[in-house]
Amino acid sequence: MSEAIPHDPVLQQFPEVEWDEEFGTLIVPATKATEVAIWLRDNHAFRLDYCSNVTGIDYLDREFKEKVKNEEGKTETIIHKDPARMEVAYHLYSMEKRTGPLVMKQRTTREKPEAQSLTPVWRSCELQEREIYDLFGINFTGHPDQRRILMWDEFEGHPMRKDYVEPFDYEWEPTPHDEILEKHQKGKVIF
């Protein structure tokens, strides 16, 4: 489990797939995920037969500035835009070849988060995709049993999403600190 798995064959096989140099991950559009996953699992060069980890990621709209020196020696600020999106990351290993990990991400929108379930490809994804559905609200099409796993069934909202607003259940305490102190100073008492 030491050398990085070469990703070029994947890009040649699937032109839709991108390689993210910054994070070292394959970016797969959500519509092609099952196809790519089966190929990665069954291809003799890869044989990624074990999915160890599945994670959801939530990105809000973001802009950041970078100062670059141009050819004349003057500094310019370049504004990078990081669009809002949601991602599901899969960490894949090969038990047969003893290689890995190769990280593969499904990318989807924040407005209508849909991804393809890879549980039919790797059974180990089942509970973790349920957790991502529970906490991020990403719908996994083709999941055999998609329901909440950590929160109770009646729970509303998806708490790991960055726009989640937790219920206001502040109550007065004698020694407030941090967030409670802020709420305390606002003077709102509900009970």
Partner: protein, 222 residues
């Protein structure tokens, strides 16, 4: 073995009692005998919620040896246990089950809230998913602080509980007069548990900064 002389009807000073004991006569109360036996044989429930449970298990190992205090019989069924050690974070999803298990335990029964989370929610108090203390739904006898408490602290909390058991009065203690105490099981809603606490068991601390007129009105109506 000397017995505390708390009975109002029998006045017996310690020298007389000691003389009687030398003569082979023990004068005692039924309360004392009951409580002495109960305190020396508390049966905890095999029940752990989080990392505190590991320390509770450690207190039952040979090194710390909870059986020195008569409590080694961890029972897997609430019907056979009389002590519930709430060891660890009580999530809102778990809270109704904890109350339900408490309801199933026969009298007399006691509760130790073990660790910061079971007492108040601990570091997760401001989270959306953790109950802010199990004492909101069931009465707690001993609060055992720590994160997690050492096994020695578990044993000390057991000593405190035994002290409390020794002061029980069979005629007036709710464990013996009210039948099996049961508390309403909270239900899930979209954001929280309903009710958020049982007002018969727990009340939120009063805010001294709230204008006094509200309290005056409350007193006037009451």
């Amino acid at each position: 073995m000397t017995t505390p002389n708390t009975s109002p009807s029998v006045e017996l000073d310690d020298t007389t009692r000691a003389e009687l004991e030398r003569a082979g006569v023990i004068v005692s109360k039924v309360d004392f005998l009951y409580n002495w036996a109960r305190g020396g044989s508390v049966w905890p429930l095999t029940f752990g919620l989080a990392c505190c449970a590991i320390e509770m298990i450690a207190s039952a190992t040979s090194r710390f040896d909870i059986s020195r205090f008569g409590s080694e019989v961890f029972r897997p069924s609430p019907r056979q246990a009389d002590l519930m050690i709430v060891s660890g974070t009580v999530t809102k999803k778990m809270a109704p089950q904890v109350v339900r298990i408490y309801n199933q335990m026969p009298e007399p029964k006691w509760v130790i809230a073990m660790g910061a989370c079971a007492i108040s929610g601990g570091p997760f108090k401001q989270g959306y998913n953790v109950l802010k203390g199990i004492d909101r739904y069931i009465p707690v006898d001993v609060y055992l602080p720590g994160c997690p408490p050492r096994p020695e602290a578990v044993l000390q909390s057991l000593n405190y509980l035994q002290e409390k058991i020794r002061t029980q009065d069979i005629k007036s203690d709710p464990a013996f007069t009210e039948g099996r105490r049961q508390y309403p099981v909270p239900e899930f809603t979209g954001t929280d548990l309903e009710p958020p606490y049982n007002p018969d068991v727990w009340q939120p601390p009063a805010n001294p900064n709230v204008p006094a007129e509200e309290e005056v009105e409350g007193e006037a109506t009451a």
